[in-house]
Subunit: 354 residues, 2 copies
């Protein structure tokens, strides 16, 4: 039960000083209030000898803040991603001395309210609201009065708080550029396209990836050789789309809109004895675990979930410390922070003569 924690009063008594003196010394403000070196020494020594650690609950009550963050995600399925965001957030928080409460709503609004209540009851200093779906949503009203960061959530209209999102548009550009730089000019799209409005999904990822791809291509005077709109981005759909494509042409370059589609593409290609990357180059998005397991490894642009989580924690703590230091000043306005999607270069792209 660990009831045996020593209190500041015990340390003070043992060191023969008043509690306030001990408090001053241990909070590092000893020198600035010019406490005698002897006292300081004595307090420090007995504190470490007795294994003193301040009771954070008491400090929280006294100071009104707890060095604690709340993390709420609606993660339904794709849990690996949520896990990475959480870990990133925890890591970022820990680097600045914060702990984090984690909660999950499964998309249930009632549950979300309850979680927020439970967190506010425990006086968290701020909240990270994370989603796996990225599309717009309404925000609970209490959050207006609390430091908040949105993680992987695109809101409709302006938000008053920082938002962290993956740089999908830029990743689309990078994906297309990778293929073009390798000499490819006929690029087939699996998942969306070929036109800018050929998208059938609520996720903004599809739109932005497509827009990025098209922007680079048009800069080079290119348009997609073909495109397949797919609603469910899963291996069987990728398989079917590529199998259908193969009845018309033998592609040399594919952009799959995510790794699961790419997995299906691999299957279709392998059945046709088409070699990756010798016969066809493939790039994709997400860096799901299969991307590394496929043969050859899939070159893909990674969703930087961990980095995003970490960034969110950092932004939130900045906010918290801002209005801890200057409670009157308005907090800095909410900006959108785009986290780059780094390429994972594996073996699925080969340079060709143009």
């Amino acid at each position: 039960m660990a009831r045996k924690r020593v209190t500041l009063a015990q340390v003070a008594a043992e060191a023969g000083v008043a509690v306030s003196t001990a408090s001053l010394v241990l909070s590092g403000r000893g020198p600035s209030v010019r406490i005698s070196a002897a006292s300081q020494q004595r307090v420090f020594e007995t504190a470490t000898r007795m294994g003193y650690r301040p009771n954070a609950v008491s400090v929280g009550l006294r100071k009104g803040h707890t060095s604690t963050l709340g993390f709420i995600s609606d993660s339904v399925a794709s849990s690996r991603l949520a896990g990475e965001m959480i870990k990133g957030a925890i890591e970022g928080a820990r680097d600045r001395g914060f702990m984090v409460f984690v909660g999950e709503t499964s998309g249930n609004t009632t549950l979300e309210r309850q979680l927020l209540d439970a967190m506010f009851d425990r006086r968290v200093d701020g909240v990270i609201l994370a989603s796996m779906l990225t599309h717009g949503r309404e925000l609970p009203a209490e959050l207006d009065r609390t430091p908040t960061v949105l993680l992987n959530i695109a809101v409709n209209g302006d938000a008053a708080m920082p938002i962290v999102l993956p740089a999908e548009f830029q990743a689309g550009r990078d994906a297309a550029a990778t293929l073009i730089d390798a000499g490819h000019r006929e690029i087939h799209l699996i998942g969306a396209g070929p036109g800018p409005d050929d998208v059938r999904t609520i996720s903004s990822a599809a739109n932005e990836r497509l827009a990025g791809i098209l922007s680079v291509m048009s800069e080079k005077g290119l348009t997609p050789a073909s495109g397949r709109v797919i609603t469910q981005w899963l291996p069987p759909e990728g398989y079917r789309a590529v199998a259908a494509l193969l009845k018309e042409v033998t592609p040399r370059a594919l952009i799959c809109f995510n790794d699961r589609l790419a997995m299906g593409a691999y299957q279709a290609l392998q059945e046709h004895r088409i070699k990756i990357p010798d016969d066809v180059s493939i790039v994709s998005f997400d860096d799901a675990s299969i991307a590394a397991w496929l043969h050859p490894g899939l070159t893909t642009f990674a969703l930087p979930h961990r980095t995003m989580g970490k960034r969110a924690a950092e932004l939130l703590i900045n906010l918290v410390e801002h209005d801890r230091n200057m409670p009157d000043t308005a907090p800095p306005p909410g900006e959108v922070h785009l986290v780059p999607m780094p390429v994972r270069t594996r073996g699925s792209v080969r340079r060709v003569a143009p």
Copy 2:
């Protein structure tokens, strides 16, 4: 900032009673101390009208417990699994009114100490220690004095605390039985075997799965047709092992020791134009995400991470409440709780004539 929380004192003042009265009423002990119905009514009404919620920090300071748990995992890679355990734990905790601090050590012992300190500073009522590796380890000493549950950690020798593990042995039995019940008698093992000591991995999963498989087979008077010891359970290794096997025989039934090996097996089989499940049946373990994506879907025995996490939280809260209610009594002894690994029946097994 949310500084606008109403306090018990404010509610009492507004209702025209003393704080202690309000406290009594709101903690549900009004009737038992026979507070006038009028007062009760008034307190309740103003409390809800003002949106009163008790300050959990203050309650924690006063009562010495915080309805808060700590969850520490060493999760290095396989983060999906860790994520599921965490979610299970959070869910189990929430069902009983607890929140949970999550921490991650990356296997770093110093970090583990720091996290435990940070959690104890915040006066968590108990700790779940989770690992992704399942093999034995030393435990930090403080945990002796704190309610603790071990999650997916096998300790050497007896532990004084509850331990939650997947029922690997039983899953091994179930896997073999699945194939045998479908009429198979020649079963090839990919990952370990054929002998009981043919295991080359630190994880106890391999040992127990193998032991389970062998126990069922020997009950039926069978032994494995072959076995391949593999250190790294990844698709390329599975591919190689099955490719090698195919040079010797054409197998009718395979047990892969995890889904990634099975994925490699699929690749090798497909290259040889061997149909699953018509020509060969496959069962596996883990229920990784690829198991559902493979063609045909892979029948596999799922690691019940979410359930395990939930169970751990429940056991921990039992412990916490035990010594909250009877602080003198010794806590119940630590037992090992085996959580069944449920089968996910997909399309990779076909019945054959014996």
